[in-house]
Symmetry: C2
Subunit: 162 residues, 2 copies
């Protein structure tokens, strides 16, 4: 359960931006970057974790170094959106390692799913297992990624300055 005071100052914003860009630095380095002592940085970071803002730290691999890796963007339209179906559908996607991201969206499509598989055959198999086998999925459009121009999950913590 989130819900915390959440009052970030300029240093917090800079710290979060740095951590999202590269979380593999020492507290001392981060401290110098934002003008704070190592212990102060640690206490802030611990605060983010405790408050749930900072979810976790993860390693990011270079997709081009993984042999045969194929990325695909799937646009999915379902028949009817029942709560039960939605839960089952999302749970399956969450449990599937090859499913990188899932977004419930508004508009003509209902879901945008990003897959990361090994070779086209695996993409096809996933598409069948996850979508075509689902009675409730009406339409599926798969866009193959030719080039992952930019990747990451960083989000700006404050509005644009301009």
């Amino acid at each position: 359960m989130p819900g915390k005071p959440l009052a970030l100052d300029d240093i917090d914003h800079r710290l979060l931006a740095e951590l999202q860009a590269d979380a593999d630095r020492t507290l001392r380095d981060l401290g110098e970057l934002v003008g704070l002592s190592p212990s102060a940085v640690l206490r802030r970071v611990e605060g983010y974790k405790a408050g749930g803002l900072l979810e976790r730290k993860v390693a990011v691999l270079d997709t081009s170094q993984v042999p045969d890796l194929v990325l695909a963007v799937c646009l999915v339209t379902v028949e009817r959106q029942t709560p039960e179906h939605r839960r089952a559908f999302c749970d399956l996607l969450k449990r599937t390692p090859q499913v990188q991201q899932v977004y419930d969206v508004s508009g003509v499509w209902d879901y945008v799913v990003i897959l990361a598989a090994h070779g086209l055959p695996e993409v096809r198999e996933l598409a069948e297992r996850l979508f075509e086998a689902d009675e409730n999925v009406r339409k599926l459009t798969t866009l193959f990624v030719l080039d992952p121009v930019k990747t990451g999950c960083a989000v700006p913590t404050r509005p644009m300055e301009a």
Copy 2:
């Protein structure tokens, strides 16, 4: 420049999976997890970095904790794909913090772009600045994210077992 021997064994795969799930663990913990001493784990991880497989470690924030954060998936179709335009277009996207991901895709659309902005106005402004202002962008479809069901950048390092 990548290009390395790249011969991963079972332990490497498990280690990479663990690091992609949570990179904030000690070498000792990781070692116990895969059955290796801390120093052996370190040497492997250093190897991934040196080979370029492991790009970096990043902090992941809980998007629901960032006030007013709006995610959107943009499907972009361009007029003509010239190398110059492509470079300029991609560079601009790479330099824009609110642009989380960019995929060059095959099919009816040319690019899939994921935006993370503060409030709808910012999304609109970004859409104008990044796409509508570009003479070469012919069509833009924006899908607003109602719920980020699953997020992350983890990729499987080996084919499905089944």
